[in-house]
Symmetry: D2
Subunit: 194 residues, 4 copies
């Protein structure tokens, strides 16, 4: 299982390198925006949407009011809300349209993206830069994986998505410490019917 274990190792080393480089001021701003908002809206497509939903569930566990764009119970967004927009390319139409509308109503946009020169960037108040395959991060990836034909076995947005999930689960830890929440507090909000 050399390919499997080495790829997994490469993904994690790469992720830690990328997360280390994210601007801490922007992370602080993201935390503050989330705490100060009436409700947090989350948008993404494909695997980025899945990452957003994994984060949405934990934010709900923490006691926040959270909506996933596209869910039937998601209301209109208001100026006291914020949108977390997740898109590796920053060009996903569903995401950029949601970001534009969010700005139009006067709410804040927190962008999680690998491309700061994108359409999404025009609308972002907070920029979380998940910049994959930078020279440095890629070195960490390739130091693990098998050489030759096997040097890109993380197709499409895999590195972006896995790094984003790890970052957001790390952010949940930050919230727990800052809000003095224990696991038991989160468990109380966990869905008991599913």
């Amino acid at each position: 299982m050399d390919v499997l274990t080495k790829t997994t190792e490469g993904i994690t080393k790469h992720a830690l390198e990328v997360i280390k480089k994210i601007n801490p001021e922007q992370i602080n701003l993201m935390i503050e925006k989330i705490i100060d908002s009436d409700a947090i809206f989350i948008v993404g497509t494909g695997r980025s949407e899945l990452v957003g939903k994994a984060f949405a569930m934990r934010l709900m566990h923490l006691g926040f009011t959270v909506y996933v764009v596209g869910d039937v119970t998601t209301p209109a967004i208001n100026d006291e809300d914020c949108l977390i927009a997740i898109s590796g390319s920053g060009e996903t139409k569903t995401v950029t349209l949601a970001a534009k509308t969010t700005k139009d109503v006067g709410a804040s946009v927190i962008g999680i993206t690998g491309n700061l020169n994108s359409t999404l960037n025009e609308y972002m108040d907070v920029a979380i830069n998940i910049e994959t395959k930078t020279k440095e991060a890629w070195k960490h990836y390739t130091s693990s994986v098998l050489k030759g034909d096997y040097d890109d076995l993380t197709p499409m947005g895999t590195l972006f998505e896995d790094t984003s999930l790890l970052f957001l689960d790390g952010l949940i830890a930050e919230f727990m410490v800052r809000l003095s929440k224990k696991e038991d507090d989160l468990k109380m909000r966990h869905a008991i019917i599913e």
Copy 2:
């Protein structure tokens, strides 16, 4: 398009007959439970879940706090909440498990079902009886449709699902009148990003 138009006609005639027979006291109770609850949870599977989601959206438009069981942002249910459980057979496991848990925490269960002798029935505080294919209702259906081989072209739960949707959209009208809501009030809550 004889088959299409006659089937559609049969479905609607059947639905109106079934809805006419629903106990108005139970409908009143359902309305009161929804208004009095902190949050409304909705559970169903397959096409019954889709019907539940269509209703969930309108309840949200009316200003209620609504959750669909299985959505990532759906929290634990509490004793001040209610569950709307939709199951034609009243035996769908996901639905009966949710109903049982709801009773265990002391919350109310509103059952929408075609079978009042089912497992779901054990947990219901309010019973909305969508009893399809009764002798009378079936007569209305077959008076429309083509005879012979063509007399059951509404496979599986079709009559239950379509009747439930029509009933629930009629119920939204009741809510609008009782709560003095106009279409514009609902539009204000309608998702603007999707």
Copy 3:
């Protein structure tokens, strides 16, 4: 429960009138496109998406290969496929973007819409006109409902959505007769785990 029963009656009378007016040649074309396609893709948002999903399930039961746009297992669309695009206004961005892409790859677009002068219209090969609130259809609606303040208790797309669902369930009946399928044939494909 006057408001409830009369609204339900109004919705169904209106629906039958609208369905009667749909061009039968276009319905025939829709049936042929579906039968001739390798795979059928379905797109809509909000309650229109729920209607599309209800139809998608029955098409799957009939043995067709069906994908809902946005589902994680939905692949790229090819020129031998078709897209069923559901939008009352014909202007929903998600829907018009999907229709445009479908045309770009050379596949067919079946539009189900209430507005034949819309962006969606530019891409449609087949037009199913669910034209709500026409003078004639509206007369059928209002002949049932309470007068005065109560004459529009079907907010937003309600009439479009309910009419579309009834039309599509009627279409399933057409498929069953044309393909000589019995309910038991459909049941064999019905999900047994849910």
Copy 4:
């Protein structure tokens, strides 16, 4: 951002340790079952379902026929299919019911679980053991995170879910090498409308 970065580091170190301990014969068996099956069904709830969906998408990209349990287009499972059942506790009702039904029809169950003494275990043909918080793995986690109050900031199933996702993305790499697939092959199947 000490808490964030150290937690992320702890999650990844823990994950690599857990993945290293998974029985390679069981992984091989999982790969063979997937390749030999007519269709692959995936079931999970909450964040485990999200992980399953992320894997489902990549399997689809690889050319497999994949269904997520609960999706409207998911058909009945047959004896030539397999089910991938994801549950940390191995006791999630939706998952164990699906596994039981799968065995009843004669299909195979691949279990991804942290608990090999669970109900799910009774039905599993292949066991992928994502055993979190073992003495050894936990040592790797705590060597990274802050001590004291901060030593469990990965609430509920976080370690199970993140480890499962990393394992499954590593498994995709294995599939790519064994099936001689390049990223471009996967891209061709990637949804172009979303």
